[in-house]
């Protein structure tokens, strides 16, 4: 059975290689090859899952050693895969949602001449992501970690003739690199602490190390997680990443890649458990981000960016849960999975709307679409209900548990974190209701609108081919797109309940992550009640603002907070002023310094010699007499020196 693990990765990797090297002759079938290999990987995943289920709970870790990767003295890195309950969960999520999104993309990217390449990149992403979750040591994980970063880079910048897409892709990669720096340093710290960076020895000996070292490792891992999972302060890339095609946003920037940070923290649970300071920072980051993302989500008129804010916020919940330690690990992962379903479904729904609306992304130009896109409306609506935590749907179970766990941390921290989580739930309800109302309800604002000014480029370039300025004719998307949406909607509805009934998910993951109930000052019922109140308040305010009143087609100026939130709470402005401008000045002055100072010293030396020789040259006047004088002078000097030496 172990030997199947490598095939999980090999299938999409093969797909990527074939599609990217194969060239144009594969254009006609490329998308089906990609989908097939992704599905193959899913099938392998299911087989392995069945195998794991057939084993005892303590015996569900499969290892496959492929070869020795980097052997240098004490530094031994192997290519070894580890499949346990945690990675199995991810494998199913990645390949399952991945395959659905492959299928969806067949329809979504139909008019793109570079569709084959798109599928190649998607397959590359799957392979890298699977490597990330299957790796048995941190260095191999790092390969997957950057591999998904690369795939993300390629896919965000897929429409790279648009400068905005190319810039967004670059930004995502570089911000992620800052996080990767954290991961590198964490690995180096592990190596100096434990002499190894394989999961087994590091995690089982974590408690042997000093708390200072563990805190350092934990913080570095958190930095890595912040980069990949778009947590404050490295969150700025995620909004821009929406430049990529919508299936990419669904798969990479909602369901899978951005959750890698949560995986990393949960996987390294043993390290964090022994480093409470690091855990505290993790929870703070999670809590800040969940509010940050939610606030940004409220202000965005671009449907994808609103969803991106939401993603940030939901991952904030997961990070918060992961920072709570054994109380929260399981729920972090559970929310991660349910979020994978409903957020991917929401993005696909958004893609479907855009597909029917000439690739318009501005929600102020939507409205009343429920009549025209019934399937999209229903699936999106179910996703919406799931994310706001409507009782009985997936989000209800997973988010509620996280809020409970936050209170269960105990003490003042528990109260603060729990309150943040509750507040987040209210804001989530607000902004998601806003999205829902602006898109599917209200008047049809896309009719008779003034033609768009050419300065505002459409997000999706295919629009240019389809007559951008014509009035849109909203229509339902083809089956190949709606089927994945329906499948994900089913997941959004039932996954949470399925996991929670009889604590199935808890029992499944507990052997890996451990679990403790914590010490909650509030009863579970009280928390649920409070959450429901928040939900109602959020939905109510949104309804009052966007359901009862017509939505202006041009965004009003808004309050100071709204304007700041539209600009991602000014983080980009900060980055621009401090890092970009500062960096530009630094490099420019360094170029100058290199030219004038470093090179100048050498050139100056050369010029000095040149000048000196110019002076000395005057001595050579060509008159034999003056040469003779210098000769005599020299001779006289020699004689004098000789005499002097004699005298001494």
């Amino acid at each position: 059975m172990e030997n199947l693990i490598a095939l999980l990765i090999a299938a999409p990797l093969l797909g990527a290689a074939v599609l990217l090297v194969g060239g144009r002759r594969l254009d006609a079938v490329g998308h089906w090859i990609g989908t097939l290999l992704s599905t193959t990987s899913f099938v392998f995943g299911v087989i392995l899952f069945a195998d794991l289920l057939g084993r005892n709970a303590d015996d569900r870790t499969l290892m496959q050693h492929l070869f020795t990767w980097v052997p240098v003295a004490g530094f031994q890195a192997d290519v070894t895969f580890r499949l346990d309950q945690l990675s199995m969960t991810f494998v199913l999520l990645i390949t399952g949602v991945g395959s659905l999104i492959h299928l969806y993309s067949v329809g979504y990217m139909e008019h793109d001449e570079r569709r084959r390449r798109f599928f190649g990149y998607l397959n590359l992403f799957l392979a890298a992501m699977l490597l990330l979750v299957l790796a048995d040591n941190y260095l191999l994980l790092y390969v997957g970690w950057e591999g998904v970063g690369l795939a993300s880079y390629l896919l965000i910048g897929f429409w790279q003739h648009k400068p905005s897409a190319a810039t967004a892709a670059k930004k995502a990669f570089i911000v992620n690199r800052v996080g990767d720096m954290g991961l590198s340093i964490a690995i180096m710290l592990m190596f100096t602490t434990f002499g190894t960076f394989a999961f087994g020895p590091v995690l089982s000996h974590a408690t042997d190390a000093s708390e200072g070292r563990l805190t350092a490792i934990g913080l570095m891992l958190l930095l890595a997680a912040c980069g990949k999972s778009a947590q404050v302060p490295l969150q700025s890339w995620l909004g821009d990443a929406m430049e990529g095609p919508t299936p990419v946003s669904a798969l990479i920037h909602a369901a899978t890649m951005v959750t890698a940070g949560v995986y990393l923290i949960v996987r390294s649970g043993a390290v964090f458990n022994a480093a409470p300071d690091a855990q505290l920072v993790v929870t703070v980051v999670g809590a800040v981000t969940l509010l940050f993302g939610a606030i940004v989500g409220c202000a965005k008129d671009d449907i994808k960016k609103a969803l991106a804010g939401s993603t940030m916020s939901q991952i904030g919940y997961m990070v918060l849960a992961a920072g709570l330690g054994p109380i929260g690990y399981v729920f972090a992962i559970m929310h991660l999975v349910t979020h994978g379903f409903f957020k991917a479904g929401l993005f696909l729904g958004a893609g479907s709307v855009m597909h029917g609306m000439n690739d318009e992304v501005d929600m102020r130009r939507y409205g009343g679409l429920r009549k025209y896109m019934p399937v999209t409306f229903v699936t999106f609506g179910l996703g919406y209900l799931a994310i706001i935590g409507f009782p009985g749907l997936s989000g209800f179970f997973s988010k509620d548990k996280i809020i409970e766990a936050a209170f269960a941390k105990g003490g003042t921290e528990g109260w603060i974190l729990g309150t943040c989580a509750l507040l987040g739930a209210a804001i989530t309800a607000f902004y998601m209701t806003r999205v829902m109302l602006m898109t599917f309800f209200g008047e049809e604002r896309w009719r008779n609108q003034p033609t768009r000014s050419p300065e505002a480029p459409s997000a999706e370039p295919a629009a240019e081919h389809r007559g951008e300025h014509a009035e849109p004719h909203p229509h339902e998307s083809p089956k190949v797109m709606t089927i994945p949406m329906i499948a994900l909607a089913i997941g959004s509805v039932f996954a949470g309940g399925f996991f929670s009934i009889g604590d199935r998910f808890l029992h499944w993951l507990e052997p890996i992550t451990g679990h403790s109930e914590g010490d909650s000052p509030l009863s579970a019922g009280a928390v649920t009640g409070a959450t429901m109140v928040c939900l109602v308040i959020g939905v109510g305010i949104a309804y009052l603002q966007y359901g009862r009143r017509p939505v202006p087609a041009v965004a009003p100026r808004g309050s100071l907070l709204t304007r700041a939130a539209r600009r991602d709470l000014l983080q980009d402005d900060f980055n621009h002023v401090v890092l970009v401008r500062g960096g530009e000045h630094l490099t420019r002055s360094l170029v100058y310094v290199d030219h004038t100072l470093v090179d100048g010293v050498v050139n100056g030396t050369a010029a000095g010699f040149g000048g000196l020789s110019g002076r000395l040259r005057r001595l050579q006047n060509g008159y034999a007499r003056s040469y003779a004088v210098s000769m005599f002078g020299g001779a006289a000097l020699l004689v004098a020196a000789t005499l002097l030496m004699r005298a001494v």
Binding site: V72, A73, F173, D180, T193, F194, G195, S210
Partner: protein, 523 residues
């Protein structure tokens, strides 16, 4: 006496150089093929050396030793250890690609241009450089090494000064002036380094009485050859200065951007991927072995300089407007990593540094040669003159991207393994330096991706709209390099197996052992 294999690896390209130069002017194409065949034959010999080399065997293998200038104890002594074998293989591997990539670089210019471009000379000079570099890697006699270390400047001077890019924005006259400036700068820098080293070589002779690396190192190790502390330090500095110029280490680096900018892309690759490696190689072989105590004494300073190189080179690369200069500054940053690894004095650092030399050679070759193809199409080196190339020449852009990703050390490609080893090796002994050096990976992402974004993405510029994609010959150059980058990224073990024993030897030369982990985890 067995077949002198090592001599053959050097003599073959040397003879090839003479033969290529002797081909009549009219038979230009024949000369190119001859050069290519000779370089391929050298590659075969290098592979034989690699196969015959036993990593578990004696330190120096395939040794040859003959009296040469008996009065001064100069011997013709060759021998390779694992590090030399790896670099020998790299050199022999890259030269065929350099020749193939430069296939048309020395063709006579269109009628009307008076510039004389001897095609035969171009290829003969490349082979001559190859011969000299190879013998520098093999020499175990300090004087023999010195001679070829210096002699390779002569063909390099002509390659830089004689053959520039075909098209030049400021016209032929200005191009020629700039080329001469770059060539002279290259020569002067390296000559000054070399002369200081000559003084140190003579000094070493007066102390040790002969030039044999093995004998001197042996005598140093068992204490029969005593050097006063100050003597050792001065001699070390003399050697190190020359190698630091060649490597190049900040602040002795300014010749490299000029030289790479003005020479054709294949020659630029020859400089940075092959010739410069002699500098870092020699640090590892001569500085550490002959002057272990002085090396340790100088370590802190050198580490700081290497760190400056890493960050400074990367920052300057970000600020460049010229593609080739950008790659040059990136190389300076990478050489910083190599030197950091050598002087971190850990197994990981030194193995990583050796691996880095090999990987940097391949990755720079991939990036620079593709950049050369790009430049030859548009006739400009300025980044601003490009845009949207991806749309018109997707294969070119794809290979350029892979070269860029290798330059930023993406995991999965070869440079990652070596860069990480260097970082880990440094970190275990000098955590602060290791952490600062890690900033280099962010900056590397910045300069490579900015380069890629500005040249390859965005709207298609009119001037590049008719740009042809890679031709078959160019693909033959790039594809194997990319395959190697991926292969060595996934499976670097063949190289590390050869290198590790040699590194262990060097570590014991300087009496250093790896730091122990804080917690001895059960293995």
């Amino acid at each position: 006496m067995s077949f002198p294999l090592l001599t053959a690896t050097a003599v073959l390209p040397a003879a090839g150089a003479v033969a290529t130069a002797a081909v009549p002017a009219a038979r230009r194409t024949a000369a190119k093929w001859l050069a290519l065949l000779v370089s391929l034959a050298t590659l075969v010999l290098a592979i034989v050396v690699m196969v015959r080399f036993d990593p578990g065997g004696a330190r120096y293998q395939l040794t040859e030793s003959h009296a040469w200038i008996a009065d001064f104890g100069v011997r013709y002594e060759l021998g390779v250890d694992g590090i030399a074998v790896a670099l020998l293989a790299l050199t022999a591997l890259l030269i065929p690609f350099i020749i193939l990539a430069g296939w048309h670089d020395a063709d006579p210019l269109e009628t009307g241009s008076k510039r004389w471009r001897p095609t035969q000379g171009f290829f003969a000079l490349i082979l001559a450089v190859e011969a000299m570099v190879i013998i520098s890697f093999e020499a175990t006699d300090v004087f023999l090494f010195y001679i070829f270390f210096e002699a390779m400047l002569i063909p390099m001077y002509f390659l830089i000064g004689g053959f520039g890019d075909r098209a030049h924005a400021q016209g032929e006259e200005a191009a020629s002036t700039q080329r001469s400036y770059a060539a002279v700068k290259f020569l002067l820098y390296n000559l000054v380094g070399g002369l200081i080293m000559l003084a140190a070589v003579i000094g070493l002779y007066t102390v040790a009485g002969n030039f044999s690396l093995t004998e001197i190192a042996q005598a140093r190790a068992n204490g029969t050859l005593h050097m006063a502390t100050s003597t050792e330090r001065w001699l070390f500095l003399g050697f190190f200065f020359a190698f630091a110029v060649k490597a190049p280490l900040w602040p002795l680096h300014t010749w490299l951007p000029n030289a790479m900018q003005e020479s054709t892309a294949p020659v630029a690759v020859l400089i940075t991927a092959v010739v410069d490696k002699v500098g870092t190689f020699a640090m590892l072989r001569f500085c550490l072995q002959l002057f272990p105590e002085a090396s340790k004494w100088a370590t802190p300073t050198i580490l700081v300089l290497a760190l400056i190189s890493i960050i400074y080179g990367a920052l300057l690369a970000v600020g460049q407007r010229d593609i080739k200069r950008l790659v040059a500054y990136a190389s300076i940053s990478h050489f910083g990593f190599i030197i950091l690894g050598i002087f971190a004095m850990t197994s990981q650092g030194q193995s990583g540094a050796t691996l880095y030399m090999v990987n940097h050679g391949i990755s720079t070759a991939a990036l620079m040669l593709v950049a050369g193809f790009l430049i030859s199409r548009r006739g400009s080196r300025l980044i601003a003159d490009y845009g949207g190339v991806q749309k018109v020449a997707p294969v070119l852009a794809g290979t350029f991207l892979i070269g860029s990703l290798a330059t930023l050390s993406l995991p999965g490609l070869a440079p990652f393994v070596s860069e990480f080893l260097v970082l880990v090796g440094t970190f275990t002994r000098y955590p602060a330096i290791g952490i600062i050096a890690t900033f280099g990976i962010v900056l590397a992402a910045l300069y490579t991706l900015v380069l890629y974004q500005r040249t390859m993405t965005g709207p298609v510029k009119p001037a590049v709209s008719a740009m042809p994609d890679l031709k078959a010959r160019e693909l033959v150059v790039v594809a194997p390099l990319i395959v190697l980058l991926i292969f060595l990224g996934v499976y670097p073990k063949p190289v590390t197996d050869i290198v590790n024993p040699a590194v262990n030897q060097t570590m014991s030369d300087v009496h250093k052992t790896d730091p122990k982990p804080a917690v001895e985890a059960a293995k």
